[in-house]
Assembly symmetry: C2
Homo-oligomer: 276 residues x 2
């Protein structure tokens, strides 16, 4: 049967098929009892109803996705995104999520000043940390692949995330998400995973397809691509991380079009054959 006690499914994996109630029920029915939650889906039902569903189906919440996006040079939009991140922290706390995934944000419209965007994001993050601390929520910095630097995340490498954590000197309210998709190519991978010891708040899995057709929505199922997922899992777990391995697949052309029960069943099979 296999041991699925450390398997989690991120809701992005069935984004186009299942609402939050359907996903909670569907993942549980398929034997996965931990999940990452997408905020838009959460807002469709509200936190109170979500808590009830999670309790009913004995579902743990790994991460809430996402807060951050703090690169805007327009002060009004920057403050609005800070406020939204505070709401996300509240929601993560109310759901008992292990962390809130922090996505940095890309270049503001019309800007080419990447160092400034990075500096602004770091300032915003520093401002959020006391709020996260008082809420007992971990902000988990997720470096995203350099190919989506321009429009989504100026936080591009694990090394940069480790540098930010060093600069902020924060406690357990600050962590890191390691997603194999975003970091597998990194020549400094071993060193920077080791450096993240004690900070790993979430570990995400999927695969890199040799024929990738989209910069954001064409991830593969574990085993269908070229990432040595098992090697990266071992490196992460060698830091002491013993939490969930969370399947997160953005796939407009394939997995988002499939029967979601089939998607979860295949993810479980690949979890055994290509991850653990």
């Amino acid at each position: 049967m296999g041991d699925f006690s450390q398997l989690a499914i991120n809701q992005f994996t069935t984004l186009h098929q299942w609402s939050l109630p359907e996903a909670v029920e569907g993942y549980a029915r398929n034997g996965a009892h931990a999940m990452g939650i997408v905020r838009d889906k959460l807002h469709e039902v509200g936190v109170v109803e979500a808590r009830r569903l999670l309790r009913t189906h004995e579902m743990q919440v790994t991460c809430l996705c996402v807060g951050g996006l703090l690169t805007d040079s327009d002060p009004h939009r920057f403050r609005a995104n800070l406020a939204d991140s505070r709401r996300a922290i509240d929601e993560a706390g109310e759901l008992g999520a292990e962390c809130l995934v922090f996505v940095a944000g890309g270049l503001p419209e019309g800007s080419r000043d990447l160092p400034a965007a990075r500096a602004r994001c770091l300032e915003g993050l520093a401002e959020l940390l006391p709020y996260a601390k008082s809420a007992g929520v971990t902000l988990a910095l997720e470096p995203l692949h350099p190919m989506i630097c321009a429009f989504r995340s100026c936080l591009s490498t694990l090394g940069q995330a480790n540098d930010w954590i060093e600069a902020l000197g924060a406690g357990p309210e600050l962590g890191i998400v390691i997603d194999v998709y975003h970091v597998w190519w990194d020549p400094d991978l071993e060193r920077e995973i080791a450096r993240a010891a004690g900070r790993v708040a979430s570990f995400h899995i999927c695969d890199w397809l040799m024929e990738t057709t989209d910069l954001r929505l064409d991830r593969g199922m574990m085993g269908d691509g070229v990432i040595d997922i098992r090697r990266i899992r071992r490196l992460v777990e060698a830091t002491g991380y013993d939490g969930y391995r969370e399947v997160e697949i953005f796939s407009a052309r394939n997995w988002w079009k499939r029967d979601p029960d089939e998607v979860v069943a295949i993810a479980k099979a690949r979890y055994l054959s290509d991850v653990v």
Copy 2:
């Protein structure tokens, strides 16, 4: 009129429009007197005829593209690619090119072992260096964007290129190509460009389009995207580099479909407005 004495055009920019004779003549007619040459195009006319054309049009050769691709785990193919790289070194020497662009190669078919691919490439490079040295040719390592790591280049960052150079301890037969497209996102950009001081053999320019639709063939013209090209040029030139700024645009959906004289004219205008 503007000073175009440091402008070069890489032949990839008009790959689908012009043969080598047409490109040499066309670039010269448009006032560009240095170019990067694509080997497939060179082979259509041969080195002897190419030299004659270059002389006739007073055209300098910046780089020859490409040698390398030394990641294959099949010993026969690995040796074949080494042999081909030696031929490329010969050609670069005969053309008087400033360097031969070295592209590492991606993962071998069916492999997920990226560290092994990188180690193999470094071994192959070490084997090529004495040949390059005796030919008086600089092998210029070009780190390519992490998004094409799987199929094209396991050399993914400037930091990794600098590490390889340190590991090899070679002389002037080993250099680096800095292409803004491949490195603009790098959080360590300033540090690693500074570290490459004295090694910069070629500097390539184009732009990153906010809406990028292809992982390899959708580069933008300078000024059409989000790269602060001028900032990177200044960082590169602060190392002492005072060579060409070479326009290299892979663009299946736009620039490869345009009138090549128009492409060069626009590149010249953008060179003045967005580069120098």
